[in-house]
Amino acid sequence: MTLMNMSLQVRQRHLEIMLYARQVEQQITTLYRQGRISGSAYLGRGQEAFSAAAGVQLQSGDILAPLTRDCAARIAFGESLTEIFRTYLGKATGIMRGRDGNTHRGHIRTGILPMISHLGGMIAPVAGILLSRRLQGQDKLANGDLHIGMASIGDGGMSTGALHEGLNAAAVLHLPLVLLVSDNHYAYSTPSTHNYACQHLADRAVGYGIQSHQCDGNDSDACLHTLYLAVQAARQGQGSQMVVASIDRLCGHSEHDDARYIPPSVQETRKDCVELRLEQLQLSGDFSASELSALQQRIDNDIQQTLQQVSKEPEPDAQQTQWQALSHPEQLWQ
């Protein structure tokens, strides 16, 4: 699959996921403003093209360690709207049972790891799973390609010791880890110049002895193409891969942040990857305005139905909660 022959089907799926992510997050914002979400809400607005392009490369049995802005990758990898809303609303029915919330949802059974907040801390666990698969002889797809592990990081997170140690350990073991670096030029309010001094974060790859790839996160075809190549390389045994995308963060760090630290001159240059894609596909005739509004309507229906359903579900009950951190305390007495 190259840029030329990338099927319309893939590009449509990619668009659909972007739209899903965008609309779901719109709903999250609404819920947050309504005070129905406790704590914070972090959005991936602007990161959808890259994140969705990563997600569509995943196959069942792969591993994804998303961060806060990877709603699209999650959806592409099969996370249900139900699960998203359950976790945001802290429902007892959700995978996190109200014990953890918002973007921390996941379960190894689904291939999506529940993130911890400590940036960089998910890389080594993904490497560990890939090593485990190798040791168990469970590291291959039916066609002989390798299962991959994808882990997400931002320009800020690249400065963490955990990232360095985890990525290096993966590289040394030649594990099929694909590191998604979303360089949106800010870590919260901190411009990249305060986080790194290299020309481009992709310059780091050579120091780990891994391959690097770059793309413009506003260009959906470039994202699809680049991630396809990176993932293929990992699947075919070429070891860990680093993919760096330049992203425009179209929201605050979280929904309580107005991002006024981003100068207007920078704000003005920002593009919206979803709108760009829509224009492009409509221009090329691959997608009509009516198809779009039908799709958006369908997504919105999905969201509203799911939300309505989830809203009725029970919240966790402190009385019935087991306040025991060990999974099997009884084993200590056997």
Partner: protein
């Protein structure tokens, strides 16, 4: 130093004012941490405006907690007075090596003090979840050489931070996020106590309620309820300094109350409350008329959902109940 001394300010503003004062009066002071520069001025805005006034001495750091602490160690050894801000105390776990083995161990090991202050936004709020809510004093008090302080009031937040900066030894400064906006007081006539002293916040004869940080306010409201509903007069002691502990103030209290209840928002196992009880039990056993008790958070990760969060942390009702049990022992 144009602090409006008579106007009520918040706990967070007190922290900002203390830093402004320090930057103003002491050229050795600088601030280093993630997002501390303007326009944001810190995730909680504790340093808002400071980089504009002192652009060379308020510096954004990369997301590198170990390096943030390590840089502060070097600068402190070289004669500066760094204040480092951890965005959330939970992330200081990544700096534990530099704090313990460099900052804490240094003075005894090679004879040179390391006067840094680590500002640690601790504690939970509903929806904060497992990684933005932790109390970190239980492990940060274990290595030798680190002072730990936990202000509960606006006045303490202000004075103790300035004292911490003046102190030649490294100070872990726990500032509770639930107090940031909700505690308000004026700094005029705000009493300044020595950094190491525990303070009696309310006098009473029947039981000593010992706590620190946000939990002091729960202890105070429990004391009021105990007085109102049960005619029990609780003495409420705010430890303020967690390591070293001012045990004499506790012993003085126990002389007349004979009963001890220590309340914290931290996990129970091997924490500050265990240390208080261990010291009291071994040094002042004769003062105890009933078993010493403690109330802590449940020994599980800090829960996200407000229902769980409310049950996770001891509250006023729990304190009242435990105090009743003890007094009726």
């Amino acid at each position: 130093m144009n602090i409006p001394m008579s106007e009520p300010i918040t706990y967070l503003e007190a922290i900002r004012h203390a830093q402004t004062d320090c930057l103003h009066t002491d050229e050795r002071v600088f601030i280093y941490g993630e997002d501390v520069e303007d326009p944001l001025g810190g995730a909680f805005k504790a340093t808002k405006g400071l980089s504009t006034r002192y652009p060379e001495r308020v510096l954004n750091a990369p997301i590198s907690e170990d390096a943030i602490a390590g840089m502060a160690v070097g600068a402190a050894l070289d004669g500066m007075r760094p204040i480092i801000e951890f965005q959330f105390a939970d992330f200081a776990i990544l700096a534990f090596n530099q704090l313990a083995n460099h900052a804490g161990a240094g003075a005894w090991r090679h004879g040179q003090p390391c006067p840094l202050v680590a500002r640690l936004p601790v504690g939970g709020t509903p929806g904060g979840g497992p990684f933005h809510s932790q109390m970190v004093e239980n492990w940060l008090t274990t290595p030798p050489g680190l002072i730990s302080v936990a202000p509960a009031t606006v006045s303490d937040a202000y004075h103790m931070l300035k004292q911490a900066v003046r102190c030649d030894d490294p100070v872990m400064f726990y500032e509770h996020k639930a107090l940031y906006f909700h505690q308000r007081a004026s700094l005029s006539n705000a009493p300044e106590y020595p950094l190491g002293r525990a303070v009696v916040r309310r006098q009473g004869q029947d039981i000593s309620l010992v706590s620190y940080s946000a939990m002091v306010w729960d202890a105070l409201s429990a004391a009021e309820q105990l007085a109102r509903d049960y005619q029990i007069e609780a003495e409420v002691i705010d430890l303020r300094c967690l390591k070293p502990l001012d045990m004499n103030t506790l012993y003085d209290s126990l002389e007349h109350t004979g009963r001890l209840l220590v309340c914290t928002e931290a996990w129970p196992y091997a924490g500050v409350s265990a240390e208080v009880i261990a010291q009291v039990s071994s040094q002042a056993f004769h003062l105890l008329d009933a078993p010493p008790r403690r109330l802590n958070a449940k020994d599980v990760p800090v829960p996200f959902h407000p229902h769980l969060w409310n049950a996770y942390r001891p509250n006023t009702a729990d304190i009242v109940q435990a105090a009743l049990d003890l007094v009726r022992f």
